[in-house]
């Protein structure tokens, strides 16, 4: 790599090992890159690729048992690995600041945020000791926290997730760092909050001129933010390029595949391109290219020889045999196969007959107070929701965390009984069904959960897990059930030898397949998919989305797809309902809502989604503040406090449904 004199941090041949003896693994293997002063350098990769470990090595904060085996980490020409522990301490929080993925757990819960920032100031900014309180307030103000002097005296739990991440940033800024390491800083946040934090980071970077090492798995965020991008795979760097080069002329098959695996509106009706398999674990022994097993253009050479790092023009580097000019291999430009068409997607959706009809459903949870535990109020998780789900279609329920979308899904399934309103399934009122009648009816509607790790009993074999529903519903005899389980495994693309294995032996994506097979076992008509891909990596997400789309085609399933991921919605759904604080604010077909959103909240939500395709000049509608508490929702329109178009009326009245087309409705006074 070119070493210019404006290089701030240079990582050279870094190799890290963890554990000892037979359990020794190498999560980082010979990684080199450099970060220029004042740039945003993004380290991109799926989970388990060694991104966070790289950041922790730079800080010399590796977990117990981890050690740097070889390599150098030069900051302004000084090797951090050679520093004494005392010397390193002045670098941590001084020249290098760091923020972490989980703002909820990264702050000390029993210290006020002001004290935690002051602590950093005392170490790195001794001059400020006379005016430390003023500096704390100044820093909190700089990261956009309203009323900073009051907030400095609060404890972390009194702040929302976004606020906590701002506090973390303020803390990192206290030492006036030249480099800020941000390890997935927005992954735990909602999109509208993510947009706020990203904007803050960009603005701070411009104002202070510090460099940022931004670690993420999200291509959208990268395209919006990064100057340079390094892609990590299985402990190695596979490609380093500037942003433009990366998005337009990437050379590594993994980079290309990652991009094509992203769901989007344009890919509707087509199979998503998938990367088969999963990221190999850190303990794997490699003989050739680490990506060989998942690569679509793999040749024998890839499995035999490890590819060298190839420097291309314009500070662009790739680790792939196809990019190596010394090996005259078939040209890289060769176009990949055109994705298979999955179904003809009608532009004007024919919505057909209704399977489920929700009519003003409420799900309230009582709040009890006082000596006698009287009910003093309700958490209105779902508040008067009416929806129709047409047969054989997908309705996406979109909203940020805490808006009540999961509660609505469980209310529909009668896992939580709605407090009021009716759920009509094929003409039967589910709320009126009790005991045995409800138990029998349950075979018609099933659920797939978000976290494939916790949704299966770890003590049961896969065969028994899939069979359980059939047993409970008295479907078939033992032999026919066993036959059906095998069939289901085939249907979701798993080998038959899974039967007597346990869930922990499978990867996240495979587990989600098992969960789908389990749901299908009772031949349901409706499946509530509760964020089924949000715990999965992009490449695996594509596999699951493809499977769900195929199953809908072949079995005529109806989905209620609960998600916060707009690109998944645009790829998969027919209709969209946007939920805010327990209420549906807008619904319509995908085209209507996503292309032409009418409610200010929908507009803000859509604009906040970082997208690979959009121009860098797009406007983000910045929402102020956080989602209010559903126990004490704002009067009138729930959104009025954060709405850029609020009027006086919004504070007192709740707007009626405004019909924009046969299928498109929104609740806003503007319409």
């Amino acid at each position: 790599m070119s070493v210019a004199n404006d290089v701030l941090l240079s990582v050279e041949h870094l190799t890290v090992e963890i554990g000892s003896g037979s359990r020794r693994v190498r999560p980082i293997d010979d990684v080199s890159f450099s970060i220029r002063k004042g740039e945003i350098f993004s380290l991109l990769g799926e989970s388990g690729c060694g991104k966070s470990m790289t950041a922790l090595s730079i800080m010399r904060l590796l977990p117990a048992g981890g050690r740097v085996v070889s390599g150098r980490i030069l900051l302004d020409g000084q090797d951090l690995l050679q520093l004494s522990e005392t010397g390193m301490r002045s670098v941590r929080g001084g020249k290098i600041g760091m923020i972490f993925q989980e703002p909820m757990t990264s702050l000390n819960p029993v210290m006020t945020v002001g004290a935690q920032i002051a602590e950093s100031l005392q170490v790195h900014d001794p001059d400020s000791s006379s005016a430390i309180d003023a500096r704390v307030v100044e820093l909190l103000d700089a990261v956009g926290i309203p009323d900073p002097s009051a907030r400095a005296g609060e404890y972390p739990h009194q702040l929302s997730g976004g606020m906590k991440q701002r506090v973390m940033i303020a803390m990192a800024l206290a030492g006036k760092p030249e480099l800020l390491i941000a390890d997935e800083p927005t992954t735990a946040l909602d999109v509208t909050i993510q947009a706020q934090v990203l904007e803050l980071l960009q603005q701070l970077q411009r104002d202070t001129g510090m460099a940022i090492l931004f670690i993420t798995h999200d291509l959208g965020v990268v395209s919006q933010l990064a100057d340079d991008i390094a892609v990590m795979y299985a402990g190695e760097l596979v490609e380093v390029a500037s942003r433009d080069t990366f998005f337009e002329n990437n050379k590594h098959p993994y980079s290309a595949k990652l991009m094509r695996a992203l769901p989007s509106m344009e890919k509707r009706g087509f199979q998503l391109e998938i990367i088969p398999g999963v990221v190999p674990s850190a303990g794997t022994e490699f003989s050739g290219c680490r990506f060989a097993d998942r690569c679509h253009r793999v040749i024998d050479l890839c499995r035999q020889t490890e590819p060298f790092w190839t420097e291309l023009a314009g500070a662009h580097g790739v680790r792939c045999h196809f990019a190596d000019p010394n090996l005259s291999l078939p040209a890289h430009e060769q176009q990949d196969a055109v994705p298979e068409i999955l179904h003809e997607h009608s532009v004007v959706a024919d919505l057909g007959e209704t399977l489920v009809d929700l009519d003003s459903v409420n799900v309230y949870f009582p709040i009890q107070r006082g000596v006698l535990r009287r009910v003093v109020g309700h958490v209105k998780a779902v508040d008067g929701v009416s929806l129709k789900i047409p047969k054989g279609r997908t309705l996406a329920l979109v909203g940020e965390s805490g808006c009540g979308k999961t509660t609505l899904g469980k209310g529909l399934l009668q896992l939580i009984r709605p407090t009021a309103g009716s759920v009509t399934f094929e003409g039967d009122d589910l709320g009126a069904l009790k005991g045995e009648a409800l138990r029998e009816r349950r075979k018609d509607f099933q659920i797939i959960f978000q976290d494939p790790y916790s949704s299966m009993n770890p003590r049961m074999q896969v065969g028994a897990i899939i069979e359980e529903g059939m047993k409970a519903q008295n479907i078939g005899d033992k032999a026919s059930r066993a036959q059906r389980v095998l069939e289901l495994l085939g249907q979701v693309g798993l080998p038959e030898d899974c039967l007597d294995r346990y869930p922990h032996e499978f990867s996240g994506g495979q587990r989600q397949r098992i969960c789908i097979a389990r749901a299908l076992a009772v031949n349901p008509k409706l499946i509530v998919c509760d964020e089924p891909t949000s715990a999965l990596d992009v490449s695996v997400q594509a596999q699951i989305l493809n499977l769900l789309a195929e199953l809908q085609q072949s079995l005529g399933l109806t989905y209620l797809f609960i998600t916060h991921n707009i690109s998944v919605v645009s790829y998969l759904a027919h209709e969209v309902a946007v939920m805010y604080l327990g209420r549906i604010v807008e619904r319509g077909t995908v085209e209507e809502v996503l292309v032409n959103p009418q409610h200010p909240y929908t507009q803000a939500l859509l604009s906040a989604v970082p997208s690979v395709d959009s121009d860098s000049g797009r406007d983000i509608i910045r929402l102020e503040g956080d989602l209010p508490s559903p126990s004490n929702p704002p009067s009138g329109c729930h959104f009025h406090q954060r709405c850029p178009h609020r009027m006086d009326r919004c504070e007192t009245d709740y707007p009626d449904e405004a019909s924009l087309s046969d299928t498109h409705v929104a609740r806003c006074f503007l319409l």
Binding site: L415, S455, N457, G469, H504
Partner: protein
């Protein structure tokens, strides 16, 4: 005539349960894996060997019978002794029968207190008389140390020989099982690189065999740990106390396990009024100071047994019932902890996705409880069982000291301490009873504590986090 006490039956029942569990666990990877982890731990295996040695003694002492007094030939019906003996009593018969008059020090040849003895010349003397059994074969007291050393050496070489035979047998079996050459296996074991730490297992075994054999051989001609006030061999008493410790430590938890599990799961799963009632019950029980509850219960039993003295064939049977009752009442005061733990865990599990999924299939409550919740709290139950064991062994000693423990006629470490304490003021001090109880208890409890640490580390999901 064999006699089966209730605790004997329960103890052997427990052994069968453990065996059944072992077979079950070996077929279920989620149980096999953590146990494999235990099997790979040096600490775990070393302590397990020691625990097994105790269990072996305890089980020998649980095979009871009443010896035949006559041959029962012809017209005479067979008469059985009123005294109930165990297999251990037979093994340790010499020590049981070598009863002196009163205190004597370990390896002593003379009594601890002076007695007035009439010599052959008819002169009355105050002397320390020779013991009736301890070192009887020695004509000259000065030969004692030579004699002890020679007994030790012979016993040690015998023990070593036996141990080598066992080692050879174990290693050959291993070699056959894994189909590896014996020599390679031996070098692996010697270097300590075998997967299961055979080196430490076999070394611990050697120590156990060595100490066992040497002290047994010495015990045949000496009182290795002295004698107590009535001249009983303390070494024998200590061995007999092993069973008491084991019974209290295991049966207590066993008896209360069903209550704690049932109530804990019900309170957590059904919530509402069921939860309220169960919580009320255990808070109430918890708020009564434990010792007072145990005291009143034991007094209650005492009175009952005094009234119904005729219902018991033997003294031992009576003592056994009291021991069982003590387990029961100790259980009543200790089930609340596990119950509360299980309630909390069940509350969490019932909200878990896989229970929700089962509900969505319309799976019945009883099935959700038995298939989904119970298997996922069993590790807590197991950890509780092993953790409580050592605490209960210690508690027995304290309760016996207060006078509300096992029957005073039952051999127990608590009773040993209690009787020795009265002699604390004696000058010079009578220390060997205390020392014996200390060594036997400490070894057992330490081994149990270290073993339970290993088990907990292997089963605690927080330790397993790195999946």
């Amino acid at each position: 005539m064999p006699v089966v006490f209730i605790t004997d039956g329960l103890l052997f029942g427990l052994v069968f349960m453990v065996l059944a569990y072992a077979i079950y666990a070996s077929r279920h990877p989620h149980l096999r894996l953590p146990w494999k982890k235990v099997a790979r731990s040096r600490m775990g295996m070393a302590t397990l060997i020691i625990l097994l040695a105790y269990v072996f003694i305890g089980l020998l002492d649980s095979l009871h019978f009443r010896p035949q007094l006559n041959s029962g030939s012809g017209s005479h019906p067979i008469v059985y002794s009123n005294e109930v003996l165990s297999v251990l009593d037979i093994v340790l018969q010499p020590m049981r029968e070598h009863q002196e008059k009163t205190y004597s020090e370990p390896f002593a040849l003379h009594l601890y207190s002076k007695e007035t003895v009439e010599s052959s010349a008819g002169v009355q003397q105050r002397i320390y008389p020779r013991l009736e059994f301890g070192g009887r074969h020695l004509s000259d007291p000065s030969q004692r140390s030579d004699d002890i050393i020679s007994i030790m050496l012979i016993a040690a070489s015998k023990a070593l020989f036996a141990w080598l035979l066992i080692v050879l047998m174990v290693l050959s079996l291993l070699a056959i099982k894994h189909e590896t050459p014996l020599l390679g296996l031996i070098s692996k074991v010697v270097r300590g690189t075998s997967e299961i730490p055979w080196r430490i297992i076999l070394l611990t075994l050697s120590v156990v065999i060595l100490i066992g054999k040497v002290s047994y051989d010495l015990g045949l001609s000496y009182h290795v740990l002295g004698t107590d006030k009535v001249g009983q061999d303390v070494f024998y008493q200590s061995f007999k106390s092993v069973r008491t410790g084991l019974v209290i430590g295991t049966l207590t938890t066993l008896i209360t396990l069903p209550i704690a599990i049932t109530l804990g799961l019900m309170a957590g799963y059904f919530r509402g009024w069921v939860d309220d009632v169960i919580q009320y019950v255990y808070t109430t029980l918890n708020s009564i100071p434990g010792v007072l509850l145990i005291a009143s219960a034991v007094l209650l039993l005492q009175v009952y047994m005094d009234v119904h003295a005729d219902d018991f064939d033997t003294l031992e049977e009576r003592a056994d019932l009291r021991m069982l009752f003590l387990c029961l009442i100790l259980g009543v005061t200790s089930w609340t902890g596990l119950c509360r733990l299980l309630r909390g865990e069940t509350l969490k599990l019932r909200e878990s996705d896989y229970v929700q999924a089962a509900t969505a299939f319309g799976v019945a409550n009883s099935r959700i409880l038995s298939r989904h919740i119970l298997p996922n709290v069993m590790h807590m139950v197991l950890i509780t069982i092993v953790l409580e064991f050592s605490g209960l062994v210690l508690a027995e000693a304290v309760l016996s000291y207060v006078g509300i423990g096992v029957d005073p006629t039952t051999n127990s470490w608590g009773n040993m301490i209690n009787s020795a304490r009265l002699e604390m003021a004696r000058e010079p001090i009578v220390w060997w009873s205390l020392m014996a109880a200390f060594i036997f208890m400490f070894t057992l409890v330490l081994a149990a504590n270290l073993f339970s640490d290993t088990v907990r580390d292997a089963f605690d999901p927080r330790v397993q986090a790195e999946r």
